[in-house]
């Protein structure tokens, strides 16, 4: 109970965010009631990016120290990242149907999340093609870092494809000032909640994966 306090806090916190997102915040101009999607869609996108970054960090650590527990962490982060990438893509697509009247039109944001999705998929395709854990860890880490090196180029290239229709209330500093205080509060609260949720899922996944490795190794002896 005592060590789990933050989990209960997250439970309440997320519930508060959900209530606030529906009742407390005003709707943005032109988006109507679909504004409420943003409090869940944007934080998922944030978790996707965060997971990708964390996976790259643990890949570097693996290559430096060659200890398998770093690989487990890199894999766990990527797994959660993949789930959130799918959630972001699907929720964004449904929302786009409502506002832009089409599920998919290669908007820059859609393209970027799709690229991340592809990178994650390729990462797991690579992992599944290698039997030996050390070799798998090594090659997957290298791939993860190569992918990480190309991301800045995507950021440069993608916005040049089409003009974005995507509203970005937080990233655009100009609009940030105009953003409603209540919206901003719920937004930031939701970012916090999603980050903690990510941490929880991450530690859980790491525990399961290391347990699996531990058992397999012990059984062998």
């Amino acid at each position: 109970m005592r060590e789990n306090w933050w989990k209960y806090l997250l439970g309440v916190w997320m519930a508060v965010i959900i209530v606030a997102a529906f009742l407390f915040t005003p709707t943005a101009k032109g988006l109507g009631q679909t504004t409420r999607v943003l409090y869940f869609h944007v934080p998922s996108a944030w978790v996707t990016t965060l997971a990708f970054f964390i996976s790259a960090v643990f890949s570097v650590l693996y290559l430096m120290r060659h200890q398998l527990h770093y690989d487990i962490r890199a894999e766990a982060a990527a797994q959660i990242g993949l789930i959130f990438a799918i959630l972001t893509t699907v929720t964004g697509s449904i929302w786009a149907k409502e506002i832009w009247h089409s599920y998919w039109n290669w908007d820059p944001r859609e393209t970027s999340i799709f690229m991340l999705l592809l990178i994650y998929a390729a990462y797991f395709a690579l992992r599944s093609a290698i039997e030996d854990p050390e070799q798998r860890a090594r090659l997957a880490a290298v791939y993860s870092l190569l992918a990480f090196a190309t991301v800045p180029f995507l950021v440069f290239v993608i916005p040049r494809i089409y003009d974005s229709l995507h509203p970005d209330p937080l990233i655009n500093p100009d609009r940030k000032i105009h953003m409603d205080v209540r919206m901003l509060r719920v937004f930031l609260g939701s970012f916090g909640a999603f980050t903690v949720l990510f941490y929880w899922l991450f530690t859980l996944r790491v525990k399961v994966l290391s347990l699996e490795q531990h058992v397999l190794r012990k059984l062998e002896e």
């Binding site: 209530v19 529906f22 930031l188 525990k207």
Partner: protein
């Protein structure tokens, strides 16, 4: 800190205004339904994660004691 300001924000007269504003809206009734569905889904996920957490913890202890005999 953030939590405190947030809860105070919720208790603001503004909130009640927002509540009234939305309930007067034509989508007023539906938004409550969507909200409740969302809360139920979150509660489901939360308790599932909690039980998974406990399971993993117990499994970990059992495996440790099994192999350390």
């Amino acid at each position: 800190m953030a939590l405190a300001t947030f809860i105070i924000g919720l208790l603001n007269p503004d909130t009640t205004k927002a509540l009234i504003a939305t309930s007067n809206n034509e989508v007023g009734q539906n938004i409550y339904i969507v909200l409740i569905i969302n809360l139920i889904i979150w509660a489901g996920i939360f308790f599932f994660l909690m039980s998974l957490d406990q399971k993993v913890k117990k499994l970990n202890e059992r495996i440790q004691s099994l192999f350390n005999k």
